[in-house]
């Protein structure tokens, strides 16, 4: 009896470690996709003053990873990708960071700013989910046998984000140098 218990506990332990390692691996893959701009971003509406209401399309094998990565993708998109205007209610938006970064600078910035903390990383201060994070039925698409494309609407606080980047000296403000 004692022997069976020992074996079961060992298996449980190995299973838990395996699950954790697998989750870590998937998180790393999702971060890599964000880093390489493997997501789409489109404008939903003008939004409130100082913010942008956008829809982020993330790609993942599992729906839950695409959903959790959407916030990161949204902030990354505002920083490095921008979006084109859609229809008449949206104007195009240039990315906040337009100056060239070396790979080393980019890696350091990405690792620091998008690091996941206990209560969310630094980036999470500048993004909130609209619609309580719910995904509309039409926004879950199956791209191929293994990949989902999931669209989530989020609100990014672009003015605060820009101010933070100006304070860090990553971008220059309008009054810099005067």
């Amino acid at each position: 009896m004692k022997h069976i218990l020992k074996i079961s506990l060992t298996f449980l332990f190995i299973f838990l470690i395996g699950t954790n390692v697998n989750a870590q691996r998937k998180k790393k893959l999702a971060d890599k996709a964000t880093k390489e701009c493997k997501y789409d971003i489109e404008c939903v509406n003008t939004g409130k003053k100082g913010s942008k209401l956008i829809k982020v399309w993330s790609y993942s094998k599992k729906k839950k990873y695409a959903t959790s990565q959407a916030m990161k993708n949204a902030v990354h998109g505002i920083l490095f990708k921008g979006f084109s205007g859609v229809g008449r209610s949206c104007t195009a938006f240039k990315p906040l960071i337009t100056n060239q970064m070396t790979k080393r600078e980019y890696d350091k910035f990405f690792d620091d700013f998008f690091k996941d903390g206990k209560y969310g990383g630094e980036y999470s201060k500048y993004v909130t989910a609209a619609n309580d994070g719910n995904v509309a039925p039409g926004d879950v698409l199956k791209v191929d046998r293994k990949t989902y494309k999931i669209g989530i609407i989020v609100n990014v606080l672009t003015d605060l984000l820009r101010k933070r980047l100006e304070e860090e000296g990553i971008i220059t403000g309008l009054s810099s140098g005067f």
């Binding site: 100082g50 008449r88 104007t91 309008l174 140098g177 005067f178």
Partner: protein
């Protein structure tokens, strides 16, 4: 040890002095309703000028009677101030001019003398800024639906170049009131506008400030721009000076006759050799001195307009 301390003190002082003078001259910005908007909305006056009818915008009446324009200007002013670049308020500038004018009219010295004002000074008493943000919007109606076409143009007051812009037509709405549509338009366009303005400032810091230089001659001067000094025409001498002193030798000679010359796209450095911020007046003063001294010995008068336009009149003060 003592010598080391002296060196450190000198280095510290030079750093402090560089920091004191390292800020470039900040241009002023002001939002002005465009002529088209003023005329379309009836804020214009007509007068006859040498036989032809001219229409000019009546800004004062526009600010007094149209609350929409005040709302849009106030909103843009606020958003630009949040970006660290507060704008000059045109309505206040007009009021200040009127109040100054009233004070000037009443002011006399103890001996009863009036303050000096040349006709040129009187002409220049207008609300002005280095960069004019021209504002236009039109309300489009299709049946019960309304939308706003919005246009913001940043124009350099000296070179007349459009240096920033954002324009577009918003979504149609059945219900939204005009102030709401206008507010949405401002929010939608301000980021693009400030981003293009930022590109202009980046260019200014990289390639120098762009100015316009006019050279004129007094009628009673015996020489002209074709007169030769040491075998070289005066016009060419001025061009050579500009080539040597502009950033990367950049300038264009737009016009050159015996009596006048016009140089455009003259790129001047933002700081002089001492690290002090300079504008067109301080920069062209060196050319003025150069021409005043031998072997040219040409007395001249320097007339400036803001940060970026200078006229040098040769032959007399």
């Amino acid at each position: 040890m003592m010598r080391k301390a002296i060196y450190i003190t000198i280095i510290c002082i030079s750093f402090i002095s560089i920091n004191l003078y390292s800020q470039a001259k900040k241009p002023t910005l002001m939002i002005v309703p465009s002529d088209a908007w003023c005329i379309q909305n009836g804020y214009a006056t007509k007068f006859e000028n040498q036989g032809s009818i001219q229409t000019i915008p009546d800004y004062k009446r526009a600010f007094q009677e149209n609350t929409d324009v005040l709302q849009v200007i106030s909103q843009i002013n606020g958003m630009m101030a949040e970006r660290g670049f507060p704008l000059k308020n045109m309505e206040s500038a007009i009021k200040t001019l009127e109040s100054n004018s009233a004070v000037d009219n009443m002011m006399t010295s103890k001996s009863g003398s009036d303050t000096n004002e040349s006709p040129i000074d009187a002409l220049r008493k207008i609300a002005k800024a280095d960069i004019i943000i021209q504002l236009t919007w039109t309300v489009n109606k299709v049946g019960p639906k309304r939308s706003i076409s919005f246009n913001l143009q940043g124009i350099d007051a000296y070179t007349d170049k459009q240096i920033a812009t954002s324009t577009g037509t918003g979504a149609q709405s059945f219900t939204a009131e005009l102030p709401v549509l206008l507010s949405e338009a401002v929010i939608a366009h301000i980021d693009n506008f400030s981003s293009t303005l930022q590109s202009h400032f980046d260019d200014l810091f990289n390639n120098g400030r762009e100015i316009i230089l006019r050279i004129q001659t007094w009628q009673d001067w015996d020489e002209d721009l074709e007169s030769e000094f040491d075998g070289e025409e005066l016009g060419i001498i001025i061009e050579d000076w500009l080539a040597d002193h502009t950033v990367k030798g950049r300038f264009s000679t737009t016009d050159m006759t015996e009596s006048m010359a016009l140089f455009e796209q003259v790129r001047i450095p933002l700081y002089n050799d001492k690290g002090r911020a300079i504008d067109a007046r301080r920069y062209i003063r060196d050319l003025s001195k150069y021409l005043k001294n031998s072997p040219y010995s040409i007395p001249n008068k320097l007339v400036t307009k803001g940060l970026g336009r200078v006229t040098l009149i040769l032959g007399r003060k």
